[in-house]
Symmetry: C2
Subunit: 253 residues, 2 copies
């Protein structure tokens, strides 16, 4: 909608791939070097890009700080956190909290497993949307037409033999998840890792977040992990209750 800003912002994902020099940026934007220079300067002044010693540009520190601040302002996260910790203390496995936003699902909190074998993930990282248990819950709650639209648009990478193969299968899975009110991922992302997940709902019943417990096969079998389902659901319900109970408008300055 705004050409200049549009161009400037296009630089960010470009730099996320790795450092680049002025020429490269200008080329990939399809603008003159001088134009790219001025855009980069503006981004620089705001701390969003940083000029390293070899003069190449990369993303800057303020970006982290912004993401950080934004994360801490999420109400659900704040409310859920103590519950997640408690759940982790009970079962010992990795606990995740995730939200859906514009075709992406991302982790907004995580409590590490207390077992030595841990799974890799990171707060802020987009989730494997077609297979993750939390993603299924979040997408299953979308209105039917939107759900279908999203499912059609997605790629379906074959992480393992049990990954969701295509939109049709995904939509059926979402339907099932929608009815049963919980979801699993049994080796659909990483062969040896299983998850069980339950939804966190707002006062209106809409799913606002989803939480999951994940553990590798070497620690507990899928069946053993499933025995935790009631506990996970109870935790999610507790969070839902607290979240819908009060509606703090703490953001109002």
């Amino acid at each position: 909608m705004s050409q200049t800003v549009d161009r400037a912002l296009s630089i960010l994902p470009l730099l996320a791939e790795g450092p680049a020099d002025l020429g490269q940026v200008a080329d990939r934007l399809g603008v003159h070097k001088s134009t790219a220079l001025r855009l980069l300067r503006t981004l620089h002044e705001h701390g969003l890009v940083y000029r390293q010693s070899d003069q190449r540009y990369r993303l800057g520190a303020r970006l982290f700080a912004l993401a950080q601040e934004a994360m801490e302002n999420l109400d659900v996260r704040e409310i859920a956190h103590p519950h997640l910790v408690r759940l982790n203390e009970t079962c010992g496995h990795t606990v995740h909290l995730a939200v859906y936003e514009e075709n992406e699902v991302l982790y907004i909190d995580k409590v590490e497993s207390r077992y030595p074998v841990r799974m890799y993930s990171r707060i802020g990282k987009p989730v494997a949307i077609t297979v993750a248990a939390v993603a299924k819950l979040l997408l299953a709650d979308l209105p039917e037409h939107e759900r279908r639209a999203v499912a059609e648009k997605l790629d379906y990478p074959t992480y393992t033999s049990r990954s969701t193969p295509n939109a049709g299968a995904f939509l059926r899975e979402l339907e099932k998840v929608r009815e049963q009110g919980w979801a699993t991922d049994l080796g659909g992302h990483e062969e040896s890792i299983n998850c069980v997940a339950a939804p966190v709902r707002g006062a209106d019943g809409r799913v606002v977040a989803a939480m999951s417990v994940s553990a590798p096969n070497v620690v507990v079998t899928a069946d053993e992990l499933l025995t935790l389902l009631p506990l996970v659901r109870r935790t999610a319900d507790a969070i839902s209750g607290e979240y819908s109970g009060r509606t703090p408008v703490k953001g109002t300055v």
Copy 2:
């Protein structure tokens, strides 16, 4: 340098404080509502802001993803990580890795303490620059005039009675740190928490990062923590060696 982009980017820190509606954004930018709307739309298209159900804007998911990706592309971090984990396995305490960038010091990696009492910190969060041990090391390495300039510009919050009180004291501390090649923070940020830190150097001897071990008084006394200094320094040196050894230009697309 570019008015439009400048205005658009000014919206980000504003939203980091909390969600805001169109009017508020327009007011704080000092522009007409329609202008603010168009800027917000552009930011929205790039996923940097998100429009929540009550129509108010807040920072968007892509921001997290960007910050995340940028973080993973930092060479030092990648090289250092296994060393940090090993150090944590040996001593059990919280281990941090931090870098300096444009008047800010921020954590780029962290391995959690294995003791139940943990300190609060978060990757990406700016560090208390006037007291943290890692910050002292990073600033101590700046050229003299720049070091002075930065020190003058900083605020010196009194976190505890042992916090660095002013620029003069800070510069003297930096001089000391510079000579001895390591740094401590003994209750300067939180009364009961102590840290020891050592620098990671590039091939040219410049400090590119700093790492620290932190532990609360209730777990180990400051004196006990200091006995870890040789271990911390050895770890930092190992990282330095590996970092300066190879210079992978992995970012070249």
